[in-house]
């Protein structure tokens, strides 16, 4: 649970820093490429660089029985959408997950609702649908293996995975 809290806090901090440049129009960030991303945020914007927020902030967590992207994760989706609109050759796979309770196939469908929610927000933010594939692992790849509420919450998640 503590790692989850830490993550939430770092994401909240990053969201605050992103808010400072939220007036940058999407089409302008598209013209600049990686260099201007880096200049505008003071951070490395490279999904394959482990130091980059694009590599570090790749998960969206969902409330129980909910498929709306929580407010605190909208900035994460916006960050990736900005990168993808400016790197239209780059493809991502959005991988939805579900907690271990319940049926295999129904959980696969629930994970898909989570990945689809992220994919929809990305396309609304201007990302080309051809850059995105939303899939689900259902309950097949639990990140947390326990049976506590904290473990279940850890697995109600969609990950943004950049394809090489």
């Amino acid at each position: 649970m503590s790692s989850r809290i830490t993550r939430t806090l770092t994401i909240a901090a990053f969201a605050a820093s992103l808010a400072a440049c939220s007036s940058v129009p999407l089409d302008q960030s598209g013209a600049g490429g990686a260099g201007s991303d880096s200049a505008s945020t003071g951070q490395i914007m490279d999904p394959f660089n482990p130091q980059s927020p694009l590599a570090q902030q790749r998960s969206v967590y969902f409330e129980f029985d909910s498929y709306a992207i929580p407010e605190q994760y909208r900035s994460v989706v916006e960050m990736h959408s900005n990168y993808l609109t400016s790197h239209q050759g780059q493809k991502v796979r959005i991988e939805g997950n579900a907690d271990a309770r319940g049926g295999t196939e129904y959980n696969l469908a629930l994970g898909q609702r989570r990945s689809d929610a992220v994919a929809r927000m990305m396309t609304l933010l201007g990302v080309n649908a051809n850059q995105i594939e939303a899939i689900s692992f259902g309950k097949e790849r639990p990140k947390a293996l326990g049976n506590t509420e904290a473990d279940y919450a850890e697995n109600r998640r969609a990950d943004i995975n950049y394809l090489r």
């Binding site: 129904y106 469908a109 689809d116």
Partner: protein, 435 residues
Amino acid sequence: MTLSHASGLVARLWRRTAVAGLSFLFAAAATAPAAHAQLRVDISGVGATQYPIAIADFAGSSGTQVSEVIRADLTRSGQFRLISAAGAALDFQSTVSYGDWQSRGADYVAFGSIAQSGGQYTVSYRLVDAARKAELDQVAFNGTEAELRRISHRIADRIYEKITGVRGVFSTRIAYVLQTGNGYELQIADADGQNPQVMLRSRQSIISPAWSPDGSRLAYVSFESGKPVIYIQTLSTGQRAPAANYKGNNSAPAWSPDGSRLAIVLSRDGISQIYTINADGSDLRRVMRSPLIDTEPRFTPDGGSLVFTSDRGGNPQIYKVPVGGGEAQRLTFSGSYNISPRVSPDGSQLVYVTRRNGAFRIATMALNSGTEQLLTAGPDDQSPSYAPNGMQILYSSIQGGQSVLAVTSIDGRVKQTLSSLNGKVREPTWGPFTD
């Protein structure tokens, strides 16, 4: 009553080292080496009606083993009470003293002989009704030593059918996924959990195996490419090919009763929706447009409709819709979580998983009246499927912290578990009649 067949189980633990160095994805034909670990069988409960029957040791070599398999089959059904045939010394030609068997308490007596010639075995059997003093059945089977178990199951099937009037399922097979620390194995085994064989070995998940109606092929979902893709594999050759590999998820395959088409679930247009497709992958058709999840389609036995799980009403419930699309009819109304439907072979019943007070339980519903019966107590019973004669239901269960397969009679009175020492047994599905 508890009966165990775990002989040799510990001694024959799966030799994992033998496969560790092989490629992590391995498809096998049905002739591939066995999985080296039987499932352990435990039985509890008795049927409402129990037929008293004596199974004499068959005369000749391997006669005791054949009789043991028949006795175990009939006992497992919960519908028979075994009467000791110790010291009977009957062979196929014997004249039966009906009165003696009646005084022992046996209404029925089965006996026979095994003749062996150059590796070929002939198993002859007879079944008599001691109460009515009548001959009920006699037949002979030929086969190799390796086929003696299968012949024994065939004889048990005949005994079951002659006495109960319902076709036996002892010679049918089941498919399931064994999840170990090393990965996943798609296995098929005899209905008693014996003779397991590995059809596919993968480091990634394998889920939702589905038998073709003739028992020759399995459709299933494999995550080997990093996402769910539907494959069809021919059991006799091990040949496999993707049947649906569209953008997004490809899952929940179910065969039409004539084997020509599959109902499948795709997320190519967003969230999970139901489609049908030819078994060769051609002629994709979308069945419905639903605003929310539609999944787990299963054909009704007449092939005209699909039952499926949908959360279109706010929580997952079971619905029915014509295969060609149209108005969906809601079937389940009790509780807020009903999933994984299957229609019984005669079309009269539905089996599904229902969540009650946090426990996932197996339930059936009479389709004409809507009367529901809870068959199991949970806490995590999943993936129910009917035996092809409709008399039993196979499902996965957590018992004592272990993932096992379990079978319940459709009245819930008799239960058996099939467990493995090697890992979690998941996603079971009972195969069809094959002869």
